[in-house]
Amino acid sequence: MKISISRDAILTPLQMANNVIERRQTLPILSNVLMSVKDNTLSLTGTDLEVEIINHCAIENNEDGETTLPARKLLDICKALPEGSNIEILIDQERAVLKSGRSRFTLSTLSATEFPSIDALISPFEFNVPQKTFKKLIDQTQFCMAQQDVRYYLNGLMLELSNNQMIAVATDGHRLAFCQAEIDLNPGETRQVIVPRKAVNEISRLLEESDESVKVSLSENHIRISFSEVIFTSKLIDGKFPDYQQVIPQKCDNEVKSSRDNLYQSFHRTSVLSNEKYRGMRLQLSENQLQATVHNPEQDEAEEVIEVNYSGDEFEIGFNVAYLLDALSAIKSEEVVMQLTDSNHSCLLFGTDDVNSKYVVMPMRL
């Protein structure tokens, strides 16, 4: 087997494979990248058994075959080679020789037959979605996914497909992000899948801010996203996502309207002095005024008085300031609405220009 390729062409696919490959591996083959050459195409595959990414690139002057090489080392070598240089990889038995200019590296290989690949998806449901739509759905919600929660079904992003509608929901149990988009779609019945956290991060990286579509395939256990040169596949989380509709408040008596920037800046400033662990912030609502105060165990104190549009009840409520800041960063509108009931119930946030994205934050008792 022989590969001849420019350093710059192989760098991005190698980087992508390495993103998927876990640093610490029990199975040696999982730290390798699968390289196969067929019909003038080089395919590079990285996997962690849950998530798999395949990159295709066109090459010339090659010899068909397949093998696996240590992914991290290969990437580091390619990175260190000068820009614009050419690479030639020759596989001979258990050794791979990589040559570029006057550099020469010999790497050990592992047999490609050992490499675990995710099989073809069985009777998948397929649809196309514009990349930027999919990207928006993910970017507006993913920051609310749980991390290593025992409620394993929260450690991912819920995608729901119904007629002409795609919804993404993420929640860690303390806050929730919801985003919906209209797309051309007809799944028959409503479908719900939970995409694991790691896959969501990768998909978001792969998607571009473009009108071009990607093909999404969903089977019982997998999601596959096919770009022109990249095929990304992930296992799905097998679990039942909580009923998100029930926790998005429908009717709230107390509505705060404010400039998003003002609110964000003020909260951000007070957050400097918040308790590092709990990040509690107290909000006092009164006629056209929102007062934010923060204390920490060192007895430091921050206070901001924010002019807002408010004519509801006077009351006090506590929040994890980081949750509000995350939501406010995700909201792109100039004006933001905060809907509240009382100090024990959740708060709904959304931008006035985009009611398709909504955020729910549970209060904190301080």
């Binding site: 025992v150 409620r151 929640t171 149990g173 303390h174 806050r175 929730l176 909580p242 926790v247 308790n275 709990y278 509690g280 994890n320 024990n344 959740s346 729910v360 549970m362 209060p363 904190m364 008792r365 301080l366």
Partner: protein, 385 residues
């Protein structure tokens, strides 16, 4: 000086107070009926018939056919217990509750303000009588061990003061079983050596006792000499909050054990909430009839003071503890529930899905009602699930 206060026939007295028509009659709390369940508490009238706590209801009603049986109303006792503690609190913050109806008070720091320990104990006793119409027995002594014996010495309605220089004379004639840690087994062993009173015990050298009873020998020796250095640990200082119940008669009925556990859990959780504490580690202690004791703990990811959350762990820990008992059919002598691993702040992040927030509200409402009205029967149904 230490004051030990122990309410007389607490559950039954509270019920008598709530049901004046029962005064003078033999009353027990427990049930659920004449033929099922056990006696949780008996008043002195019932005790005259030989009825004692943890006795099967069947047997109790046979001993005393006139027996008045009332269901256990734990939330009521919890709320009365709080009122009692409020009275204690007027005199000292150094209160170590042992259970709902029993506590140690260290009044060393309060004597300047309120007069002698004896005076303080007398006032507490009077205030409990006047304000709550309940009777407490008090023991006043230089340490916990002697104070506890003293409160029991003249029960009911006891009031016994043991000054430092009178301590040995007070202890000497008492049987050895009055010493903490001397159970039936040790008592029998001591009796076999001809040791029946604390004085007999005191005449032995510490070496002699250690040789025969190991570490416990040293402990017995010191208590026999009226030496007890343990401090009163108030809830504010405590690293854990717990409650335990030693049954006078061993219990093997799992349903009854579960019911007792549930009551202990409610007590502990209510006390955590009262003190604004949340703990991460839940511990269950089970002592079997043969004195083997199993202590099982589990630590949660986040600290809690929710009855429901603690209860779920308590149940699974109890099941594990019982499973490790080889006999399969556990005969239990003591049950205990504790929560430790406190985090010191009271910040609580609400949860969107877990039943958590609902349970908090439930606990809050129940606590409030029980505190304010005392009489309302807000408590969980028999927690057997």
């Amino acid at each position: 000086m230490i004051i030990h206060l122990d309410m007389d026939a607490f559950y039954a007295s509270v019920e008598e107070r709530e049901h004046p028509e029962l005064v003078g009659l033999p009353v027990v709390v427990g049930g659920p009926s004449k033929t099922r369940g056990v006696v949780a508490a008996a008043n002195y009238e019932a005790r005259k018939f030989g009825v004692v706590s943890a006795m099967p209801m069947m047997q109790a009603s046979r001993l005393c056919p006139e027996l008045q049986i009332l269901p256990v109303n734990m939330p009521l006792y919890v709320s009365v217990s709080k009122q009692i503690h409020e009275i204690f609190n007027r005199y000292t913050p150094e209160i170590e509750p042992l259970s709902l109806d029993e506590a140690f008070l260290d009044v060393s720091g309060s004597i300047k303000l309120f007069g002698s320990a004896e005076e303080i104990a007398r006032r507490i006793k009077q205030e409990i009588k006047d304000e709550l119409r309940l009777v407490v027995s008090a023991g006043i002594a230089p340490n916990k061990f002697v104070a506890k014996i003293a409160s029991d010495f003249d029960k009911p309605d006891g009031f016994v003061v043991v000054e430092e220089d009178a301590m040995q004379d007070f202890l000497d004639p008492l049987p050895v079983k009055r010493i903490w840690g001397v159970g039936k087994k040790t008592e029998l062993q001591l009796n076999n050596y001809g040791i029946t009173t604390i004085k007999d015990l005191r005449n032995q050298s510490v070496r002699w006792l250690i040789d025969r009873f190991g570490k416990q020998g040293d402990h017995i020796y010191r208590l026999a000499h009226g030496l007890d250095k343990r401090e009163v640990i108030s809830d504010a200082k405590a690293k854990s909050i717990s409650a335990e119940n030693t049954f006078i008669e061993n219990i093997s009925d799992k349903e009854i054990l579960i019911a007792y556990l549930s009551l202990l859990t409610e007590q502990v959780a209510a006390r955590l909430r009262e003190k604004n504490r949340k703990g991460k580690t839940v511990t269950v202690k089970v002592r079997f009839h043969d004195f083997t004791t199993i202590v099982r703990s589990k630590t949660l990811a986040e600290s809690t003071n929710q009855t429901q959350q603690i209860w779920l762990l308590v149940k699974s820990l109890f099941t594990a503890a019982v499973a490790s008992n080889a006999s399969g059919r556990p005969v239990v002598r003591l049950l205990g529930v504790g929560v430790s691993g406190f985090n010191n702040d009271t910040t609580y992040q609400g949860d969107l899905f877990s039943e958590g927030s609902k349970h908090d509200e439930l606990d809050g409402v129940a606590d409030e009602i029980n505190q304010r009205f005392g009489k309302l029967k807000i408590h969980r149904g028999r927690n057997t699930k």
